[in-house]
């Protein structure tokens, strides 16, 4: 476990990370959100809850995930030593399942009998459908129409797992619209239904509990890199959509002041084109989906549709703790374009024999320059938070290959 530190006091009693976070939900949901906060506080103190969570992580997910020295990419970039935290090797192929297990165990404690989730790339949907199958709970996944189209393999996987997929056509039919629809379902079925939010965003306590469930990534990484290199890394690198894999990696290192934290946002066609998903780099603070955070919005406070080649990063907001780490300067945030992510994907496939998901391909696209900035004495841990099998078809389309 990480030790107490100045950063672990957040969120405060009002669910705020500095000025970010909070509980901006309809009154119908407030009693439930408050009940969830109380139940989570009890679960955290319950050794049986923690034991069941840990047991599933070990035997069902396959944790700990390896810490892998990416030797050929290290040579290729000619800078710092690069390690991958290999959360793409988890059951279901991404970090998402860590959080789903935690939330579904909470749902069971609360006596909820129906699970809903939103999904962008489909990884969170697949992970939720998987755990629901494991526990025999009905599962409804809201997914934007655009994403249903570009993530067909995951849609089929969710159906195989027994989940019902609801395509969402409002807005641009992407992740934010799926989240709107999930919130509408939740408000309608509040007494029976638990909403498993996939990223470290939404109303308090979601950003906190998602972070806590994902922090297993950073706790393992800390031990593993100390074992492998005898010291802490100089930089942690992770991609950011809502930011759950990044906060999971970062959080256990926050008190280690020598460890830089670098989040990579989806730059789409370029932040200057307006077609991107980089809410910290190209947005400003506002309120959406239950929390105050950085958002892509116009001068009237209307939300602007995000764009990214990666369905998992295609969201106009970001988790409130990242907004806070950005404002305080504790973490740095850079961007990566669609094209750069595609190049990084191919490079990783050829040099390491690993097909990264398009999401961590964004992180990898910045790793080269960070490795050179740090020099050969430097040490980087990048979160390989998902595998690229799901992206093979859409990558082929982008590369103009007919398969």
């Amino acid at each position: 476990m990480s030790r107490a530190n100045a950063w672990s006091q957040w969120p405060d009693a009002n669910g705020r990370f500095g000025e970010f976070g909070g509980r901006y939900v309809a009154e119908t949901l407030m009693p439930l959100v408050l009940e969830l906060e109380q139940e989570y506080a009890r679960a955290k103190e319950d050794p049986a809850f923690q034991a069941e969570f840990d047991d599933l992580l070990t035997h069902y997910v396959g944790r700990p995930s390896p810490m892998y020295f990416a030797e050929r990419l290290t040579e290729h970039f000619g800078g710092a030593r690069i390690y991958f935290k290999r959360d793409e090797l988890n059951h279901t192929g991404a970090h998402k399942i860590n959080n789903c297990i935690g939330q579904v165990l909470l749902a069971r404690r609360m006596g909820k009998t129906r699970i809903i989730a939103e999904t962008g790339a489909g990884q969170h949907g697949v992970a939720t459908a998987t755990i629901c199958a494991r526990f025999g709970l009905p599962c409804v996944v809201f997914m934007g129409e655009t994403d249903v189209e570009r993530q067909k393999p995951n849609v089929f996987r969710m159906r195989l797992l027994g989940a019902e997929i609801v395509p969402v056509s409002s807005g641009t039919g992407t992740l934010k619209d799926a989240m709107n629809e999930a919130l509408r379902d939740w408000v309608t079925n509040v007494s029976t239904t638990f909403y498993v939010i996939g990223t470290a965003a939404g109303p308090h306590p979601y950003p906190m509990l998602v972070r806590d469930f994902q922090s297993v990534i950073g706790r393992e990484a800390r031990e593993q890199i100390l074992a492998a290199e005898g010291r802490l890394p100089d930089a942690l690198v992770a991609c950011i959509g809502g930011g759950s894999n990044a906060i999971g990696l970062f959080h256990p290192f926050l008190e280690d002041e020598g460890v830089r934290m670098i989040g990579v946002e989806a730059g789409g066609h370029g932040v200057n084109t307006g077609q991107h998903a980089a809410s910290l780099t190209g947005g400003r603070p506002g309120v959406l989906h239950g929390n105050r955070t950085y958002l892509l919005q116009d001068q009237n406070g209307q939300i602007i549709d995000a764009h990214s080649i990666s369905a998992g990063l295609d969201y106009p907001g970001i988790g409130p703790e990242h907004a806070f780490l950005h404002e305080t300067g504790r973490a740095e945030y850079r961007t990566c374009t669609d094209t750069e992510a595609l190049e990084a994907f191919q490079l990783c496939a050829r040099l390491e024999g690993i097909l990264p998901a398009l999401e961590p391909a964004h992180a990898l696209a910045r790793v080269g320059e960070i490795a050179r900035e740090l020099g050969p004495d430097g040490l980087i841990v990048m979160n390989m938070c998902g595998r690229g099998d799901k992206d093979v078809f859409s990558i082929a389309a982008h590369l103009g290959v007919n398969i």
Binding site: G22, E27, T28, M30, G171, V190, N300, G301, Q302
Partner: protein, 279 residues
């Protein structure tokens, strides 16, 4: 004293032995001028209080009817700013009908709380309902609005327990908007007994009039609710008339369509308690 126009209207309705007809329309739907004409038509057709929807791209508490209304408004250039412009035009012609702006937090924060409060007050707005600002998050908006005598209207729902209702009542002003059913706007209505209980709890703990909304579509439903509460809110059914007008290729006909529906709802609400006492 905040929201005098609201209290006066509920008082007037009570003295007439009837519930208030609270009518909702989306500002700028299908365009600013037509929505202004629709507002006037509502007031002329018996609406006692008008809720003016401010469009937002992500209306997660709204059902399909009001989602589409927001999209039509945004497509026609609607915004919180133009919502306040429509309110101001209405207020120039009508000094008595309370106007409530109903919307989501982000456009208000984007405009800035002080700026919003000043402009809303200047436009003759009486109160504000922000669906995604529960009591825990509305202190700064209440402060900004109170400086101009405007009320933040609180929402209570079927999930609002006795203890929670105390929290909702603390700082409530104008009236309490009782959401008849756990769901989005335009959904099915809840059971009458549950609504009666919820309304009575809200009235007892807040000391304010209570209007019931979400899911009221027909005159018959409106009449039932008029016997339970101090006001009945109708939104989706009116907004759907605008949609029908647009789909007919005659957006201006929304004014006439809304007049017909509003008159019928107003009659149903006005006569509800008399009818019930006779049966």
């Amino acid at each position: 004293m905040t929201a005098e126009r609201i209290s006066a209207k509920f008082e007037a309705c009570r003295s007439e032995g009837r519930a208030a007809f609270v009518a909702y329309l989306m500002a700028g739907d299908p365009d600013l001028d037509t929505s202004f004409e629709c507002l006037k038509a509502l007031a002329a057709s018996g609406a006692d209080i008008i809720e003016l929807g401010a469009p937002f791209t992500d209306p997660m508490a709204d059902g399909p009817a009001i989602q589409r209304a927001a999209q039509r408004s945004l497509a026609a250039g609607g915004s919180l700013s133009s919502t306040l412009d429509v309110a101001a035009r209405f207020r120039l012609e009508d000094k008595v009908t309370p106007l409530i702006v109903m919307g989501y937090a982000n456009p208000i924060f984007s405009m800035g709380l002080t700026n919003f409060a000043e402009r809303a007050a200047a436009a003759g707005v009486d109160g504000v309902i922000t669906v995604d600002l529960p009591p825990e998050e509305d202190a700064s908006l209440r402060e900004a609005l109170a400086a101009h005598g405007l009320a933040v209207i609180r929402l209570a729902t079927p999930t609002t327990t006795e203890a929670r209702m105390k929290r909702v009542s603390d700082g409530a002003a104008g009236f309490v908007y009782y959401v008849s059913v756990a769901g989005v706007t335009g959904a099915a209505v809840g059971a009458e007994e549950d609504i009666r209980e919820g309304v009575e709890r809200a009235r007892r703990l807040s000391g304010l009039p209570v209007a019931v909304g979400f899911g009221v579509r027909t005159g018959e439903q409106a009449a039932r609710f008029a016997c339970l509460a101090d006001g009945v809110v109708v939104g989706s059914a009116l907004v759907e008339e605008v949609r029908a007008a647009v789909e007919d290729g005659a957006p201006k006909s929304a004014v006439k369509r809304i007049t017909v529906v509003a008159q019928s709802l107003s009659n149903a609400i006005s006569s509800a308690r008399i009818v019930r006492s006779m049966t």
